[in-house]
Amino acid sequence: MPFWHLALLCFLFGTGFGFFVQRGGLCFAHGLGEIFVGQPKRILRMFLVIFVITGAGFALSGFINPDLGLKPLGQLRGHGFFNLLAGMFFGAGIFLNGGCILGTLRNIGEGNLIFVLALLSFIPGMALVVYGLDPYLSPAYQVHNLILPDLIPGARPHHVMGVLVLAGLLALWRLQPPRRKAIEPEKSRAGDLNGR
């Protein structure tokens, strides 16, 4: 596929992501804040919906095309030490500036210009690592790429995913808010008259 066709499709997919993220109010920085103040249900429900559908879809994609399926993402560096460390910097950063990557992009789209500054500030942080630290740290990275089923002897990826998707559905069901029955108009009116 020519690069410009691919770029156009990427832009269109991005537009779809942006629409859903804005309408749904998704931001993991806010979500973490909700968890820390003891109100985790909203973000957990949103995360579980994403996990169940995306996880099942990614696992099933391997049956449609053997090149797809579950694959490690990013790089496991230094046996995971750098991932943990990087996560801590990232977590601190999103909590300070008030938006994860999706939240930052969403806020820019909503007209919140402070997030343009936040986004531009990624540049010195990334440059420091890529041009300053990487040349010294790269021997320690010892990159490995693993998915969870690789750590469980005899486990097949789609079996592990099946169990997790079922667990996710169960958790999602438990997290649903209780439904109250709507008051029937007739009874309500009768109640009002009796009350008088």
Partner: protein
């Protein structure tokens, strides 16, 4: 509790996001990348211009949010003010540092990495919780 219409129900909207995630993987053999997508800003386009394509996806995310915000009446131009600026800049530097130190360490870990069962994402998410909790504890009084 009254049921929200589908276009305002966060779970249905997240289902739409997730279906797009899967469709993009099936059609383009690519998925949404968060942190590394900003590497073109420091001159790194990635193998087969992968990071550049991811950057284009993110431009689309901004456009999609803009369309949604305008159509729902939520668009409002807000200018940066005083103390906000320092926090945004310092936070942004930390985000950039973290995202580059271990590729895949960003929001991608939540929406793509965990559903891929990627071990690097599981560790990244653990780190994100720790880092965010540390800042939460330090700034709780503010």
């Amino acid at each position: 509790m009254e049921r929200k219409p589908w276009h305002k129900n966060p779970q249905i909207l997240m289902a739409g996001f997730a279906l797009l995630n899967v469709a993009m993987y099936l059609l383009l053999h690519k998925f949404w990348i968060g942190g590394s997508s900003f590497l073109p800003l420091i001159g790194k386009l990635g193998p087969e211009r992968m990071f550049l394509l991811a950057f284009i996806v993110n431009l689309g995310v901004i456009a999609g949010s803009l369309i949604s915000a305008v159509s729902s009446g939520e668009f409002r131009l807000r200018w940066p003010r005083g103390r906000q600026i320092g926090r945004a800049v310092f936070g942004g530097v930390l985000v950039g540092f973290g995202a580059a130190l271990a590729p895949g360490t960003c929001t991608t870990a939540f929406v793509v990495g965990l559903p891929m069962l990627s071990v690097s994402s599981i560790l990244s998410v653990a780190g994100i919780f720790l880092g965010a909790f540390l800042v939460f504890c330090l700034t709780r009084g503010e």
